[in-house]
């Protein structure tokens, strides 16, 4: 990978590791509206799927700030990997389609 990709990835990991533990604990805009208007509890059921790292706290770590930082690190690296993989698949689709066009031309001429 090129140097600037590594630098940007390090910046992203640094934000997750060192800034996310100090995020504001206040509810966000939607949570605040839901609480004010009396429908917050409608969204508080158990999850439909089992989330391995619920609420950005890595399970099994007692210190809240460390649990958030580790969740942030894992999430950032995971997001990088998944997005990279999807981008590769999209690119491959492009190549295959180009190949398919070439093949169909060949077949048409043959």
């Amino acid at each position: 990978m090129r140097k600037e990709i590594w630098i940007l990835l390090i910046v992203a990991v640094a934000v997750a590791l060192f800034l996310s533990p100090f995020a504001s604990p206040y509810p966000d805009g939607l949570e605040r509206v839901a609480a004010d208007k009396g429908f917050l509890e409608k969204g508080e059921g158990p999850g439909l799927v089992h989330s391995p790292i619920p609420d950005y706290a890595f399970p099994g770590i007692k210190n809240e700030k460390v649990a958030t930082a580790v969740a942030g690190l894992v999430g950032t690296v995971l997001t990088f990997g998944v997005m990279y993989g999807i981008a590769v698949l999209i690119k491959r689709g492009q190549v295959n389609r180009g190949q398919a066009i070439l093949d169909s031309r060949k077949n048409g001429q043959g």
Partner: protein
């Protein structure tokens, strides 16, 4: 602004799934046409950075916080179609791995933050670039575009909540807008600072329309 399960009724979340899913499908088809080899790792780091930045809630006022959405940041850097894919990918991971945003509500969250936010915001960014020449257009456009992306995503969220009968229209629309008008300023400041920096140091990394 991640809607959890339970806030939206089936007619609303299924409609949102169809709209959001179709739009992201188009985005994949569009990106497939022009995705360059060197953009692949850049898509990865952009997604990673936006994921990390979304974790950092900043206090705004009255015991409420907001966090970056990042849709316009991604759109200015990589174009709106690619931004849509990046945002949708982040939202899927947040819903399944981090219990942030519901599974039934994922279509609505994708519609609001991966479709409406990048496209409406990028459109505003482009309009301002036409009105103001050079770097000023890029920076003012980035600020206004990211502000409007948050406000319109919040408006869409409020419409979905009202359709679902969570609260009356006249209650939920002004409530959502009043907070997100402020949160949008935070979005604008962060987006503009990053766009300003990257267009200065590495203008070659930025999507064709940005001016150094």
């Amino acid at each position: 602004m991640h809607i959890p399960d339970g806030f939206l009724d089936p007619k609303t979340f299924s409609t949102a799934w169809v709209l959001g899913g179709t739009a992201v499908g188009f985005a994949v088809a569009k990106t497939k046409k022009h995705l360059g080899e060197r953009q692949i790792p850049f898509m990865g780091v952009m997604a990673a950075f936006i994921f990390a930045a979304q974790m950092v809630n900043f206090p705004i006022a009255g015991g409420t916080s907001g966090h970056l959405i990042g849709a316009v940041l991604a759109a200015v850097m990589l174009g709106p179609w690619t931004a849509s894919i990046i945002m949708a990918t982040i939202l899927v991971l947040q819903a399944f791995i981090f219990f942030d945003g519901g599974i039934t509500a994922l279509g609505a969250n994708i519609l609001n933050m991966a479709v409406i936010a990048p496209f409406a915001g990028y459109w505003a960014y482009q309009v301002l670039q036409r009105l103001l020449p050079g770097r000023a257009g890029t920076l003012v456009g980035a600020f206004a575009g990211s502000w409007i992306s948050v406000v319109l995503a919040a408006l869409a969220c409020a419409v979905e909540l009202a359709f679902s009968g969570m609260a009356p229209w006249r209650v939920v629309l002004p409530a959502m807008l009043s907070w997100h008008v402020l949160i949008g300023i935070g979005e604008g400041v962060i987006t503009t600072a990053i766009v300003s920096y990257v267009t200065q140091v590495r203008p070659d990394l930025v999507y064709e329309t940005a001016k150094a």
